[in-house]
């Protein structure tokens, strides 16, 4: 008889440590935040909620947020459902390319999109406005980006990929014989769409819509850059304003707003996962036979034009605008060949202040990604590969962090780690890194867990049986098998961390200004060209990251 394998003990320690870490850095700050919003010096007191929402500007911010998020959600669903169907289920020409383009804005920082659309649609010198004025001989610019409609437009373009990813995945996973069964029962294609396809898609459509709603409501960059110049305030911008006040009263008001946001966002996400676990029809179907694509026939090219037009407006146009602006010699002169050059690039690349921010953000991203990947590996291993009690608790805590709006996380960290409870991280790089980990680890855990669940337990048992220790088994068998997902998980933390704006904007100190914050400042001080140059640099790094990611995971994971 061999000696009992030391699995229980070492695993128990790993669980205990990761649960404690996650409790301390995710749950504890959120609890402190809730407590602070409900108690004043130990006495239960919700007068600040009444007071905050009693002020017209805050109430207006709340209604603006709800209105914007609803409009963005409905518009995203209306755009995404037909797109997902065309790309996923028909013989649309170039559907693979469109799929990539339509999810591309997912990996572009939202504030870069905001900057681009201001360049395109601001009422005085917007490129697109000028172009439309010229074409139609208009006196006045047809569009003004600094309006509720403008904010909704940019939010829709940048958050509809959330819905697109969810809905198109469900479309492609659906067993096409369910539709064929309807056809053979006597239903026309249109009736089949109505009676079978849409009802089956409904849970995914609702889930995608809710994701967009939450993302739009939690977004800071777009409303701050596009909305603030037009005096449009939303919840996130109000919270930032209150925090900037810096006094106890400001923090308290911010806390009240944050807690209400957190409850709504986490409540909706909880509802969404409950709904998906109870109504996710797509997983019920039996073996899927063949991918059945609908022939568009004479509608092929009109559909192509529609999708291509959307892809052009949503992705190509804003990217082109930022790139072109960065290469303009003089902003006051128009677009012409002799006005193109790298003049705007030189001061940026030679500026030690700018370059420091870039390297700093890359550094923070790398540190966050390395710590996060190791933690993700533990959390994923525990929830997928073991059967000890509480194995999925760490996973749940990570999901909780990811589901909480960035602005709420930032505020909770400020309140908790400013020395009131022992640890003081305020103004250090560590508070930024902790915030990135809290927000972005969930994606990396998902990716690694999905890959680990593919590694059958017998592979591990065979190694243990061959005499390898548990640690040795992890190193020799498990890690090599899931290594692509580990690389993917690393990038899934690195990328959003290095261009993060919302949390960094509240958490940075004099020596820890990040790239996102720098870009935001440049844009607010109306230095559009330097902002464009930095945007292009960010886009390049994102692009390189995605190419690497694509190579490593053979196209299975991208951002």
């Amino acid at each position: 008889m061999k000696k009992a394998l030391p699995r229980f003990d070492s695993k128990f320690i790993v669980v205990a440590v990761s649960v404690l870490l996650l409790l301390y850095f995710i749950v504890f700050p959120l609890l402190v935040l809730i407590y602070d919003s409900l108690f004043v010096e130990g006495v239960f007191d919700i007068s600040n909620y009444k007071e905050v929402y009693g002020k017209k500007v805050n109430w207006q911010a709340l209604t603006n947020t709800v209105q914007l998020s609803l409009v963005v959600m409905i518009a995203s669903i209306a755009i995404t459902v037909p797109m997902a169907w065309l790309v996923g289920r028909t013989d649309l020409p170039g559907r693979k390319v469109f799929r990539t383009i339509l999810v591309a804005s997912y990996m572009i920082p939202p504030y870069v999109g905001a900057i681009a659309w201001i360049q395109l649609l601001n009422p005085s010198v917007g490129y697109l406005n000028d172009f439309l004025k010229f074409i139609f001989g208009l006196q006045k610019a047809p569009f003004d980006i600094y309006t509720m409609g403008g904010v909704a437009w940019v939010l829709t373009l940048f958050y509809s990929p959330f819905a697109f990813i969810t809905i198109s995945r469900a479309m492609e996973k659906m067993d096409p014989t369910l539709e064929e069964a309807s056809r053979i029962s006597g239903s026309s294609p249109l009736k089949t769409l109505w009676d079978v396809t849409l009802p089956l898609m409904m849970p995914s459509i609702v889930a995608g819509g809710l994701l967009v709603f939450i993302a739009a409501a939690s977004c800071f960059g777009i409303p701050a850059i596009v909305g603030m110049p037009g005096n449009i305030e939303v919840m996130t911008t109000r919270i930032v304003t209150f925090v900037y006040m810096g006094d106890a009263k400001g923090i308290r008001d911010a806390t009240a707003l944050s807690v209400s946001m957190m409850i709504v966002a986490n409540g909706l996400l909880f509802f969404m996962s409950w709904m998906l676990s109870h109504k996710d029809y797509t997983t019920i179907s039996g073996k899927s036979t063949r991918p059945n694509t609908v022939e568009l026939g004479k509608w092929k090219w009109p559909a192509f034009a529609l999708v291509a037009g959307y892809a052009f407006v949503a992705v190509v146009l804003p990217l082109a605008s930022v790139v072109v602006t960065s290469f303009l010699v003089s902003m006051s002169k128009g677009l012409s060949l002799d006005n193109l050059g790298i003049d705007a690039w030189i001061p940026v690349i030679t500026s030690s202040q700018y370059m420091e921010c870039i390297w700093r953000s890359i550094g923070y991203g790398i540190i966050a990604a390395c710590i996060g990947t190791v933690l993700s590996l533990f959390v994923a291993y525990l929830s997928v590969k073991t059967n000890i009690a509480g194995r999925s608790l760490p996973d749940l805590l990570v999901v909780l962090g990811g589901a909480t709006p960035s602005i709420v996380i930032a505020l909770a960290l400020i309140i908790t780690f400013s020395g009131n409870f022992g640890l003081n991280l305020y103004s250090t790089m560590w508070i930024l890194i902790v915030s990135y980990l809290v927000k972005y680890m969930t994606m990396s855990v998902r990716t690694i867990a999905a890959s680990l669940s593919q590694v059958h337990i017998s592979l591990e048992e065979a190694a243990l049986n061959s005499g390898a220790s548990w640690i040795r088994t992890c190193w020799d068998i498990i890690i090599p098998l899931v290594s692509p997902s580990i690389v993917a998980g690393w990038f899934l933390i690195f990328m959003p961390s290095f261009y993060e704006l919302t949390m960094s904007n509240l958490l940075y100190g004099s020596d820890t200004k990040s790239l996102g914050v720098l870009l935001y400042e440049l844009q607010t001080y109306a230095d559009t060209q330097n902002a464009s140059v930095l945007s292009v640099i960010i886009l390049l790094i994102v692009l390189i990251g995605n190419v690497v990611l694509n190579k490593v995971t053979k196209g299975k994971v991208s951002i």
Binding site: D175, T177, L178, E180, A181, S182, R183, I184, S185, G186, S187, S188, P189, K191, D195, V196, P199, L200, Y281, I284, S285, G286, K287, S288, T289, N292
Partner: protein, 350 residues
């Protein structure tokens, strides 16, 4: 009336010829199985009958109506063909309960609710699912979902029923009982059935005629007995039942077994040159003395209802199945003599 006629059907996917020159005439009330290995084109033909694929060439006629004609540009959409179909993955709609699933084809046709319910219940009775009418598919087992799919395909009483490997996702016991149930329902309703399968025992037990397919071509069509006892070629003999192939040479009226030149069999097909003799394991008898071919017992496997012997004859292993025999009559290494019965012969292929 639901007779079915396929004339000169060709189907190309890109450069691959999935079906070539397929012809069949199915009489009303007939049960026909398409049998063949995966990728032989049997499901493609079924989908062309249903209207989910368009043939590259040819005509499809159902109940006297031309539903597809390549040269005349006739194409009737699946929903207008009045066909019942059961899919391999059941394709029971998860968002409707059993009664709604079965009643859907009637609802589409605008049948009033009372009559609909009555007919749905009658169908559920037929497939023994009456008490499950209010259940949802995720509360049903695979076999029960298959019954729902069957009831749904039968409810409009269209007269033509297509079944695409309907039993392949079920376990062995259930597969066998469903086989007899489908057969009984078909006899009771008098419908025409096209049944696609790769399982020869399903095809043998249920069908009036079997179509054996390989590489997009019909290899043979005939009653199960004819296909089994008189296969058209080596592929059919190999695919249906077990068979020993023995290299041989045909000369005049006789075919000589290779390595046993003293031994010859009749040559009814008038083959010449290289040929193949085929004999099924159950048509070989073993004895200690007196048989025509000498061999050595290589190994034997006890199967319960039979013993499966592997006999080494020259360089070849011949398989012999002895029904009802006791285990251990012949020991490994023992010299035995074999007698062949019902020997088939084919021209050598490839």
């Amino acid at each position: 009336m639901a007779d079915l006629k396929l004339c000169h059907i060709y189907k190309k996917f890109g450069n691959v010829m999935a079906v070539s020159d397929f012809n069949i005439d199915v009489a009303d009330g007939e049960f026909i199985s398409f049998l063949g290995p995966s990728g032989c084109g049997k499901t493609t033909i079924l989908r062309m009958i249903a209207g989910f694929e368009k043939p590259t060439e040819g005509t499809v006629t159902i109940g006297g109506t031309e539903v597809y004609n390549g040269s005349k540009g006739v194409f009737l959409a699946p929903e207008k063909r009045s066909i019942g179909m059961v899919f391999q993955s059941y394709a029971v709609w998860p968002h409707m309960n059993v009664a709604d699933n079965v009643g859907y084809p009637l609802k589409v046709r605008g049948i009033p609710k009372d009559e609909r319910l009555q007919r749905v219940m009658r169908m559920l009775e037929l497939v023994h699912m009456r008490e499950y009418a209010d259940r949802f598919p995720n509360q049903l087992s695979g076999g029960q979902q298959q019954r729902v799919a069957l009831a749904r395909a039968l409810v409009t009483q269209t007269g033509l029923l297509l079944l695409d490997e309907p039993l392949s996702n079920l376990d062995a016991k259930l597969r066998e009982s469903m086989r007899f149930e489908i057969s009984a329902i078909q006899k009771e309703l008098g419908i025409t059935v096209i049944y696609v399968t790769h399982d020869q025992s399903e095809a043998m037990t249920m069908s009036d005629r079997i179509v054996v397919m390989s590489m997009g071509k019909m290899q043979q069509i005939g009653r199960p007995y004819d296909v089994y006892t008189n296969p058209a070629n080596q592929m059919v003999a190999d695919f249906i039942g077990l068979v020993n192939f023995i290299p041989a040479t045909a000369k005049g009226d006789r075919i000589f077994m290779q390595g046993q030149e003293s031994l010859s069999f009749p040559n009814p097909k008038q083959l010449s040159g290289e040929a193949v003799l085929a004999v099924r394991p159950e048509n070989i008898s073993i004895a200690r003395t007196g048989g025509m071919i000498k061999g050595i017992v290589n190994h034997c496997f006890y199967m319960g209802d039979s013993v499966d012997y592997r006999i080494k004859v020259k360089e070849q292993i011949i398989r012999v199945i002895w029904k009802g025999a006791a285990y251990g009559i012949f020991r490994d290494g023992e010299t035995v003599y074999l007698d062949f019965d019902n020997v088939m012969s084919f021209a050598k292929e490839g």
